[in-house]
Amino acid sequence: MADSPTVVNSSEVHNPALRHHFADMEQQRESSEFGMWVFLITEIMFFGGMFAAYMIYRYLYYPSWAAGSEKMDFWYGTINTVVLICSSLTMALAVHSAQVGRRKLLVTLLIITMLFGVTFLVIKGVEYHGHWVKNEFPGAGFHVEDVDAAAAVHIELFFSLYWAMTGFHALHMLIGIGIVALITYFSWRGKYGPDYHNPVEITGLYWHFVDLIWIYLYPLLYLISHTHKA
């Protein structure tokens, strides 16, 4: 295979996948790609609200933030980061398979991507359970040990944002797995090939974006403190 990006010519106007309000496949492909990017920008702003809350409270209550980060599980967080990066690789390779028309490889890679996603959620679930039994869930029962008084006042805030940010991220992962499952089914049915594979590409965009959010959540939540009681 060549090292530099190749140019793939695709079909004419009579592609069965052409939707009638579009003039040609190029317009359809460009529209769906641009549309997904616009949607991802709305997601930047959605998560952005929580990043703003995080940033403001970290600015105001840094000791509580460091103390809270200390209570995070360094290894679960790091392993999950690795899992998601691997899932982005398999997703990108899946898109490539669709572009060159390798159906079986496409289906396999999509399934592996989903497995990585499920692994992420399982590890997250274990992590959540760990916090839950230690009373590290905000509310009346919230209680943390071994923090000094200054940090203790606002550590519940840190946990509120931890649960909210990772919770919404996990929800987006779950939705992503659902979408990939749907695309896997259609791929298995032979719907995608070099002439038409928009849905695989835009699913890939969504998946990578959810990975991107985690790439920021990981240092912001897990890496503030240097002692990392695992």
Partner: protein, 542 residues
């Protein structure tokens, strides 16, 4: 001359192409979806209006004698939430924008027709949840959901209301997304950005705000829900949280939201003023840039809603300073509409009457916005009826008039029928009188110190309140009339041809009502917008 007794054979159009409820509920035709939206938002307009009437009835007397205080709180909350999220935000974009945008750019449909239908279903779903909220007893947070009242102190249906608005917000985001991609990717050959009708520019600018701002509303409502349901305490001062953080996130959206509400209306006015002055718009480029400037600048001013909430004085100064700037592009638009009319050939049709009303009332509303931008004045009039009057001048005197003007202007295109012009003019006049009687006294009341959101007031304010309530009753009559005669016209109205106004624009080159795919052949555009100097003189109102 045709009369109601004569049946004219109808050509095939988007209305008669298919019959049956499934063909409507599963349609992907942007024009049918526009009508679905029309029914939905009209329904919610009357619900919101009902709450307004209850408010005005209570305020006839200084004592709190009609409703209990808590119930009154629910009235203004539900009035605000229903009117803002289920009428004003969708109205022009989802009805007129949906119908006209593809046609104005020479396309067969929006870029994503199925997502368009989904947007409508989301609005309906949010609306159903809002109806449930109302029937179950409502929320009483004020439309602004301020914390910690909403998160820690109330036991009304706050989460339900928040979720209803969240779902409606998703509808708004998807519409905005659709409009942006459509405008970029689906323009006909020759339809360059510089030839787009200003209505398209206005909806495009609106779509930018919808896409960038609404998600922040979504997350702020989600955090309120988390605080309530799971006792998170993100906004609870007793647990270290800052109530103002909610206000920052809420107003980051809700200020630009007011531009979502007004910009499409401004687009409508540009179309109406050019047509009924039979002139090109004055300063096309500035008009287009102005809507983009409003969209951008509108994001930089949100904390002017928080001057007395506890933000730092320096932040207040910065936001006050920035708030003055957003008036500049708005003023440019008012000047340019006026200059468009200068030495034009003016026709006093119903849409043009609404346009006159808009320009005058929007200007008053906008200028009083500058009073509020001034930090020193705001400290005295904030949370009084001055603010209530200010935003109603823009929302009702501006936006609703623009919406009605647009509905009258494009009604022949949408329905294939003319509305009765005399009734149209009468309703416009009634609405104008009713509006001013309702809301001008409120400026005075606010300046004199009457607080908003109170269910009782000092006796010296009663006369002005009575005037305001009288006005509201007249306004209500004015609003019912168009509904009645539009419905009447669908069966008995004069049949309209493709271009009864002699207007410029691609929508007037196709039949009334349009076919499902709008154009038989993709148009090729060779002229600028509003090329009235090239069009033949046509008697108006055929």
């Amino acid at each position: 001359m045709t009369t109601a007794a004569v049946q004219i054979p109808e050509t095939e159009n988007y209305l008669n192409k298919e019959y049956g409820i499934r063909s409507w509920l599963l349609t992907t035709d942007h024009k049918r979806i526009a009508l679905l939206y029309l029914i939905t938002i009209t329904f919610f307009f009357f619900i919101g209006g009902f709450f307004a009437l209850l408010i005005r009835l209570e305020l006839l007397t200084p004592a709190g004698d009609l409703l209990q205080a808590d119930t009154y709180n629910k009235m203004f909350t539900m009035h605000g939430q229903v009117m803002v999220f289920f009428f004003l935000i969708p109205a022009v974009p989802a009805v007129l924008g949906n119908f006209l945008l593809p046609i104005m750019i020479g396309a067969k449909d929006l870029a994503f027709p199925r997502i368009n239908l989904l947007s409508w279903y989301l609005l309906v779903a949010g609306g159903c949840l809002m109806l449930y909220t109302i029937l179950a007893g409502g929320a009483d947070t004020g439309w602004t959901f301020y914390t910690p009242l909403s998160t820690a102190f109330l036991n009304t249906h706050v989460v339900a209301a928040a979720l209803a608005i969240f779902i409606a917000g998703f509808s708004s985001i998807l519409t905005g997304l659709n409009f942006i991609v459509t405008t970029h990717r689906m323009r006909a050959p020759g339809m360059t950005w510089n030839r787009l009708p200003l209505f398209v520019w206005a909806n495009y600018a609106t779509a930018i705000i919808q896409v960038l701002g609404t998600p922040v509303l979504a997350i702020s409502l989600m955090l309120v829900a988390l605080d309530r349901l799971f006792h998170f305490g993100i906004f609870d001062p007793n647990r270290g949280g800052d109530p103002l953080l909610f206000q920052h996130l809420f107003w980051f959206y809700s200020h630009p939201a007011v531009y979502i509400m007004i910009l499409p209306g401004m687009g409508v006015i540009s179309e109406i003023v050019t047509c009924f002055s039979r002139k090109r718009v004055f300063g096309y480029k500035f008009m287009a840039l102005a809507v983009i400037a409003i969209a951008v600048l509108g994001f930089l001013v949100w904390a002017h809603h928080m001057f007395v909430a506890g933000i730092s004085v320096y932040a207040a100064l910065i936001f006050s300073f920035l708030s003055y700037f957003v008036a500049v592009p708005s003023a440019i638009k008012v000047f340019n509409w006026t200059a468009t009319m200068y030495k034009g050939s003016i026709s006093y049709t119903t849409p043009m009457l609404y346009a006159f009303g808009f320009i005058g009332l929007f200007t008053m509303g906008g200028l009083t916005g500058l009073f509020l931008a001034a930090l020193g004045i705001d400290v005295h009039v904030t949370d009084t009826y001055f603010v209530v009057a200010h935003f109603h001048y823009i929302m009702v005197g501006g936006m609703v008039m623009a919406y009605l003007g647009g509905m009258h202007f494009w009604w022949p295109k949408i329905s294939g029928r003319m509305y009765p012009e005399a009734w149209g003019k009468l309703a416009a006049l009634i609405i104008f009188v009713g509006f001013n009687l309702t809301f001008f006294p409120q400026f005075v009341l606010g300046y004199l110190g009457m607080p908003r959101r109170y269910w009782q007031y000092s006796p010296e304010f009663q006369v002005l309140n009575v005037l305001s309530t009288a006005g509201a009753t007249i306004l209500a009559v004015g609003y019912v009339l168009p509904m009645a005669y539009f419905l009447w016209s669908m069966r008995y109205g004069k049949v309209a041809d493709a271009n009864p106004w002699g207007a410029a624009g691609l929508e007037w080159t196709i039949q009334s009502p349009p076919t499902t795919f709008n154009f038989d052949e993709t148009p090729i555009v060779t002229t600028e917008a509003y090329n009235y100097d090239e069009l033949q003189e046509v008697p108006v109102g055929r």
